[in-house]
């Protein structure tokens, strides 16, 4: 059981550890000269290694060999992250607002001047 007050520090500590872990893995990856490839590609190489008669992928998908430019691809990934983060942010705002309303009543905000 922790006091409510300490939660702020727990969150900060959590984010700090996460940031540290990310930097460490990135640094380790950079130290090994790893490319930002995606483990999907590495998987293909291992298949080649363990299988005698792997003739490459048998279907290239509905887009065929066409690959999106790198910027577009990372943009789409960022878009996906943004969609998720938006919903999470909305939820946190909703919870915050609900809590405030329960505490002070629905129309007690100082901004609301129309009466």
């Amino acid at each position: 059981m922790l006091m409510k007050k300490n939660h702020k520090y727990l969150y900060s500590a959590g984010f700090a550890v996460i940031a540290l872990l990310i930097v460490c893995t990135l640094a380790l990856g950079a130290g090994n000269n790893s490319e930002f490839g995606g483990s999907d590609d590495a998987g293909g190489e291992v298949i080649d290694k363990v299988s005698d008669d792997f003739g490459g992928p048998w279907w290239n998908g509905i887009f065929g060999d066409y690959e999106l430019p790198e910027e577009t691809e990372s943009m789409l990934f960022a878009l996906q992250a943004a969609a998720g983060a938006m919903i999470i942010g909305f939820f946190i705002g909703y919870v915050y607002h609900g809590k405030r309303d329960r505490k002070f009543g629905k129309h007690s905000e100082p901004e609301e001047k129309e009466e």
């Binding site: 727990l10 483990s39 999907d40 363990v50 490459g56 969609a83 919870v95």
Partner: protein, 225 residues
């Protein structure tokens, strides 16, 4: 962790598709029922899906020289169970397949089985186990999310090893494991921490969310962490 388009023989594609279909069916039915019967749960369903969206788009290069991403299935498996998670994961996977050329339509079944069914099932089991041992919600959530993440990748390795094992099944399995699962350990810890922090936030601000979660009553209803 997704198996790429065309990298799985079609027999296996079929097998994994057939394995995934019942989960998807019951998951879709359960989600529709939840949304219809308790409209206030709509946002929580969206929230657990949003975590999957957010976390599975964060690709990080990692230790073994490959890169991978968290799966984000921890919250929904704890709150809504395996079937619902498989349905939400299918949405994410279809999005990634069609728009990001990440994963594939033919391997969709296999990817749903690993990310939406097997991993979350293990997370679910871990959550129940730890909750029955009366551990706190954030700690259980950390372990559940972490094991869901790692075991997703173990399942991917298993799927690939089942399809390609000309040098012996165990050797192939450990080869795949070295690429997929090892990379995943730091990411799994990060994912576990994100979920533990969010669980802490929920326990303090909206504890009734966990009211419907299985295994909560084992430790005696509401609690603070």
């Amino acid at each position: 962790m997704h198996i790429m388009e065309g990298y799985l023989p079609w027999e296996w594609c079929l097998v994994w598709f057939l394995a995934a279909v019942p989960f998807l069916f019951f998951g879709a039915r359960k989600i529709i029922k939840i949304v219809r019967d308790n409209p206030e749960q709509k946002m929580t369903v969206a929230l657990s899906g949003a975590f999957m969206f957010l976390l599975s788009s964060l690709k990080l290069p990692s230790v073994t020289g490959s890169s991978s991403h968290p799966t984000g299935t921890g919250l929904s498996t704890v709150l809504y169970g395996i079937a619902c998670t498989s349905f939400l994961a299918a949405i994410v996977l279809i999005f990634q397949t069609l728009l990001l050329a990440h994963g594939g339509l033919t391997t969709l079944g296999a990817n749903i089985v690993s990310m939406g069914i097997f991993g979350p099932a293990c997370g679910f089991a871990v959550w129940h186990l730890l909750r029955s041992m009366r551990l706190s919600i954030p700690i259980s959530m950390f372990s559940a999310a972490m094991s869901a993440n790692i075991l997703t990748y173990v399942m991917t390795s298993l799927q690939l090893a089942l399809a390609y094992h000309d040098i012996g099944f165990l050797t192939a399995f450990s080869e795949f494991l070295a690429v997929f699962a090892l990379t995943q350990i730091p990411l799994a810890i990060i994912e576990g921490m994100i979920f533990a922090m969010f669980a802490m936030y929920l326990v303090n601000n909206k504890p009734e969310i966990f009211g419907g979660a299985a295994g909560i009553n084992a430790a005696g209803g509401r609690e603070k962490c």
